[in-house]
Symmetry: C2
Subunit: 805 residues, 2 copies
């Protein structure tokens, strides 16, 4: 098994969706699926700029309204390339007599190859070899190379190469009733014998998307100039080329396409740039050469190396993790540094969640922070650009500061649906997910982590600090003082566990004192208070003026940070458990066994219960146990500090006790849940860690939710599993200007090597069960502090250090 | 005299253009003129994003072609607000019986106020007070507050508030024959009684520009709700309000306007955002409060303080320098940090040069580098985004690396005209200014200076180094080896002195071995070679791979850097003078006295000579002496190093000798020329320095070129004069990780205080003729090195040091 290759050796239409999602190619600017050798209508390719550039008007179709949904729109189809032999039917994979089929995603090179052999009419054998790429070197370009071998015949072949703007967004079944035609045709023209182009405009946001493509032919090394018949329809343009296929010589066809939108920088207008880009473009081989080089450099930054007792286990793990890294880089590559985009929960790989931005970046940024933090910086600026809208939302809801939305798109307003469909019951159900105010803790946490890893004072000064301060202000205004408890409380919110959005039999949505929310709010207030010491004096005073921050306000934050309420209840053994929210202990225990027996897969217990006219709100059940999120985001030292600061007692046993308590009551209805659980268990239970880790690995490759992966991969879960290797097993924590290492390799894992970046230093880490070796590259940077086993060491540039564990 | 105010106490239509240019308001996103209380058609307001977002198709009208010129387009007019009394004529400043007129630009607050009193029909006296601002707080907003006092009458008044998309670009007389209608109307609608909006689209680049405005009325503190008559025409929308004016109570009218374009980040579509922005906007006073606060913070960073023997001189100098700083910040404010814009040579203040980007940033960046380097960073990224286009240009011209264009606009292609008009003769003359390859030295120099001041390794790694290396490569490919000289030569280019573009009587344009170009090319090669030591190893090796840079190529650069040819000739005393270019000594001396007698102003000698069928190419005359640029950009130490490295001898006397030689032969046909000359003379001639400095100060306020300022202020000259205070008199040089100070206050100047930023430290500098005092703010940054009098001192955070001179 080659851990750098993902292979499918037969054609299986049932698995097609999953395979397409996993074999999607992208470069941060746009992505493109494509599994069939003739392109199909579901050849998805979203420009990344576009995802953040659109606007979602309304998502439900209750009142029969005309519905606009432009948050994720398929760009015109550039892959269209088909052929027919001797005037027969156009080739179609599902109808052809396929003799062999082999599809390979080269993970290292980000090139997809398919080879197939089929028998045509009159028993003619033909072999097709096709390679495609979405260039990491030139983000606007994609290329498709097709070789056609006539094995035992000669004769006429006709090739159709087209650009098609008649695009339907139909990738997610439950959205199909919504409006899914978003493009207006503007132009579709043939430019030269080998070039055509088209331009479309989105209906509501008026973004122009232009494509140009060249199609060129070779017989051996010889270019063949063919004069096409032009077939031009409203919104689509085809070139039809006729030539002779010779049994002795394959025909090579190269289609190079460019895509530009009106939101791109440094352009005149998208059509002109697209035509210029393909007119001057290189051959497939030249493009591939540069593309592979850029990927080589990315792998040098992002790869890792593990040695496991079981070689097969080692290969499989490396393969899946590399596939995950591939998809993450394809979604948020270095090209996002100059784009206004966030981290879409489902990558650029499918239409689910409509390309919206949720809190998934909380799971994605740790990976980028330690490998290429410039990417995180760019993605955090997406949040900064929407700070004003978050301020507006807070004001409108009666709060101060900035309230980031649970779902976000083009202009940063709240995009959460008010209703959602339960496909199990066919009911439209009230959706209160906008009450997940904890997104604001995630944004603040991400700002802080990025700063801790990079010490990027420019970012903190001009963007990060303002977000942190405004979010702190929001939390302070959301908290109210409860005289009885003599503590601050946060009422009517939802935690990450989406099974609970209200108290049973209460009309009003929301829960009180969600422990995760309350504790993270305190964490945010403390970090905002830290800024007083960290920011340059001049900038700090500017910010206080601009934001009108007074000493009294800081004093209030300090007070809340010492007196926030955290609910506890006791488990069966009389030990304190952090309550998921106030009143959690009053809920009924759930009949796990009964439901498992009845339904088998109960990951989506919410849908099952709703269809039974019941609700998870009545039970001690979690889709994702949100108390455990605390152990994921905060080290035990940090949690100890936090609870002590609040005047609650904390002992190390609190953690395993809570883990045991909640895992018994969790259905894992979220891919993120598995990552979090693996993480917290891995730290608590070294022998079992590997098994848990490999289970989390499978989310997407095995499509364990049964059908969600074809609708889009899960960026949070993919990054989370890589981060289990990167930060969990190594025990990396960046806190208080120290890089803490606390390795704990799971049983079976013999060693783990990776390169990370910390405060401009490139550090090579080599870990075994007994030893950590750290190498630094020579540089002129400030020495850094490494914490191991409770001690802090100063590491200078170019130093190599070894620590015995 | 208040050095924070610019006042005009009478209405003078002749001076109107100059006054409008100097009183333009802007915020980096857009700028707006406006001197008359009723807005006029030349109310210019360009969105800054737009300037870089457009495309200049062709600029001359030789063959009667349809001409597109969208590089600078007036956005629709939002200032339109007029009134008429008792159904009379609409008020018009040039026809009214004006009794008093007072216009004041508050430089500290960036607010323009006009007060005027006029006598209407039937002897009625009315007073108008009007304030306007372009918000520095909310870059999309502008506001106009008008108070109308009926002094001795009561009666009906009608107010017309409009948005008008019928816009003509007619600000520059010599461009008026070119196409000057660039906007297509899309929408013009009334939204509510107090709000209307309109949208237009540019013809070629299809950029949408949307505006919305609210008009609200107060009598005292009481809001008056008025129902307007709506007057809607294709491309314009007016609200007409009728009310009563009372002798005892002024009527207050506030018009708040928002402008968005389709190129903005974080928007759905521009119309929606514009309407949202004004619907929720504050009152004029609230907007002004925030606007003034933001300016206060900017002044804290950008201001300076001088004490001069002559108090009046001191006030006048401070006033002009502050006016310059105001205009520079208005052009490239902190809001450009998230825009794709460069430094337009004429600011956002006029239409001359069509908003194009030249080399003026070379004169502007030093100011920002030491005050708010984040702005420079953003503007350098404008260049980085156009690196690919520069590579394309180099390739097309047969060179390697990247060749930046002399004039640049939306997509970075060369926009220099092929012909230009001599208004003196009416002839269209071949324009070879694209041969000014030295722009590539300027871009590289700017990258390096920014890095030296900030040590911003992220910028250098991801953007700066790539530009430097590609430009170095270009210079190496432009240089050829001359066997006879046994040195490298650069042939057929133009230096900054635009009077010389060819040898007399030669058909082919270009000159050989322009000394400025050759020496700066060597300087670039040396800095590119320095990168090997400076960049992190990993990044450097990535760049070498990506750019395919070999050891052989570095070796070639090293060889060229040691063996570039520099031409010299001898002056009348037999001393070596650096020749402006090869063969300069063969040119005829010019009859300066004869021409001064004949023409008076001979700044534009090129036009005078061309009209006589002669050419400056024949004479030893310079518009701008480009050898002197060397002494401006490089300290004598650096120049010594450079020439010694090349195997030429250098002695300190070389500098004054060259200065004398070239100044005798310069016509100062460029505003930049005065800055450079003042600079080089100030260092060489302390007693005369002040007089030279004050002369350079006058470029724009006195419109010394006779008419160019109304067509747009000169950003390079404005920044250059501030920089004379900032770097020339203080002797600041940032080189080799040291902040060098070498103060030399001109006679008359008693002290000079300013705050600068150097490598994240905020340094307060106080200088007198005998002493330098340096204070640093406490911070956690690395100590810095200060060089004074040849010695290097280490300065820690929070330290205060005094040095006697």
């Amino acid at each position: 098994m080659d851990s750098w290759k993902l292979e499918y050796r037969c054609f299986n239409p049932q698995q097609q969706g999953l395979r397409e999602a996993l074999c999607t190619l992208g470069n941060g600017y746009f992505a493109c699926r494509g599994a069939a050798p003739e392109a199909t209508a579901d050849d998805v390719h979203y420009p990344a700029t576009y995802i953040a550039g659109c606007y979602n008007r309304l998502q439900t179709e209750i009142a029969g309204e005309t519905i606009e949904n432009e948050s994720l729109v398929n760009a015109p189809n550039w892959l269209l390339l088909s052929f027919r032999i001797e005037g027969g039917d156009w080739f179609n994979l599902s109808e052809a007599d396929i003799l062999s089929y082999h599809q390979q995603l080269d993970i290292k090179q980000a090139i997809l190859t398919r080879t197939l052999r089929f028998r045509g009419p009159a028993g003619r054998h033909t072999c097709i070899e096709q390679r495609r790429l979405v260039s990491m070197d030139q983000p606007h370009l994609a290329a498709l190379q097709t070789l056609i071998y006539a094995e035992d015949w000669s004769g006429a072949i006709e090739i159709r190469s087209a650009l098609d703007g008649h695009i339907v967004n139909a990738g997610v079944e439950r959205y199909r009733d919504l409006n899914n035609l978003h493009l207006k045709s503007l132009t579709a023209e043939s430019v030269t014998d080998d070039m055509c182009w088209l331009e479309v405009e989105t209906n509501q946001s008026h973004i122009r998307i232009a494509q140009a493509a060249t199609t060129r032919f070779w017989r051996g090394d010889k270019v063949i100039g063919l004069k096409p018949r032009v077939d031009r329809l409203e919104g689509s343009i085809s070139h039809l080329y006729k030539t002779e296929l010779d049994a002795n010589q394959p025909l090579r066809i190269e289609k190079i396409a460019a895509i530009y939108t009106s939101r791109d920088h440094a352009i005149s207008e998208p059509g002109l740039e697209a035509r210029k880009a393909v007119a001057q473009s290189a051959t497939f081989e030249q493009l591939a050469g540069r593309h592979i080089l850029l990927w080589k450099q990315l792998w040098r930054r992002f790869d890792f190396d593990i040695v496991h007792e079981d070689a097969e286990e080692e290969d499989r793990t490396e393969q899946i993790l590399r596939l995950h890294i591939l998809h993450l880089i394809q979604t948020t590559s270095p090209h996002v540094m100059d784009l206004d985009v966030g981290v879409p929960a489902r990558g650029l790989h499918g239409e689910a969640y409509r390309g919206h931005i949720f809190w998934d970046e909380l799971f994605v940024f740790p990976l980028f922070n330690l490998r290429m933090p410039e990417i995180t910086r760019a993605l955090l600026r997406y949040r900064y650009r929407r700070l004003d809208e978050a301020r507006r939302a807070a004001r409108k809801a009666g709060y101060h500061g900035a309230m980031y939305p649970w779902q976000s798109a083009s202009n940063g307003r709240e995009e959460s649906q008010h209703l959602h469909l339960n496909p199990k019951s066919g009911n439209w159900i009230a959706d209160n997910s906008h009450l997940q105010r904890h997104i604001n803790a995630a944004v603040a946490y991400n700002v802080w982590q990025y700063y801790q890893v990079t010490r990027d004072m420019e970012f903190l000064s001009f963007y990060g600090a303002e977000m942190l301060l405004e979010i702190a202000r929001f939390w302070a205004s959301l908290a109210s003082y409860n005289e009885e408890l003599a503590r601050f409380v946060i009422l009517r919110v939802m935690g990450p566990d989406e099974y609970h959005d209200a108290y049973p039999d209460k009309d009003q949505p929301g829960l009180n004192n969600n422990a995760y929310t309350n504790l993270m709010a305190v964490w945010v207030l403390l970090r905002a208070l830290d800024l007083r010491e960290i920011l340059p004096t001049q900038r700090f005073s500017e910010l206080c003026q601009t934001l009108n921050l007074s000493k009294e306000e800081f004093a209030l934050w300090d007070e809340i940070s010492r007196n926030m309420h955290v609910p506890f209840h006791q488990d069966d053994h009389g030990h304190d458990i952090i309550s998921q929210f106030e009143g959690y202990q009053e809920l009924a225990e759930f009949d796990w066994e009964g439901y498992r027996n009845k339904y088998g897969d109960i990951q989506r217990l919410d849908r099952i219960l709703e269809a039974e006219n019941d609700s998870p709100n009545r039970y001690k059940v979690s889709k994702q146990a949100d108390v455990l999120m605390l152990f994921y985001l905060l080290s035990s030292e940090e949690l100890d500090e936090l609870l002590t600061h609040l005047g609650y007692s904390f002992e190390y046993e609190t953690i395993p006790r809570n883990i045991d308590y909640y895992l018994e009551r969790t259905s894992h209805g979220s891919t993120l849940s598995r990552v979090v659980n693996s993480w917290v268990l891995a730290r608590a239970n070294r022998p079992g860690a590997w098994a848990l880790f490999t289970e989390a690995l499978n989310s997407d490759v095995a499509d364990i939710q049964g059908g969600t992966t074809p609708e889009g991969i899960h960026t949070g879960a993919m990054a989370g599993t890589v981060d289990l290797i990167q930060r969990c097993f190594t025990g990396i924590e960046t806190r208080g200007d120290v890089l803490w290492l606390n390795p704990s390799l799971p049983e079976g894992l013999k060693s783990l090597n990776l390169n990370i970046r910390y405060r401009q230093h490139v550090l090579g880490l080599q870990m075994t069960t007994t030893c950590v070796r750290i190498c630094t590259e020579p540089s002129a940077e400030q020495p850094i502090q490494i914490g191991i086993g409770g001690k802090i060491y100063h590491l200078k540039q170019g130093e190599v250090r070894e620590f015995q564990l």
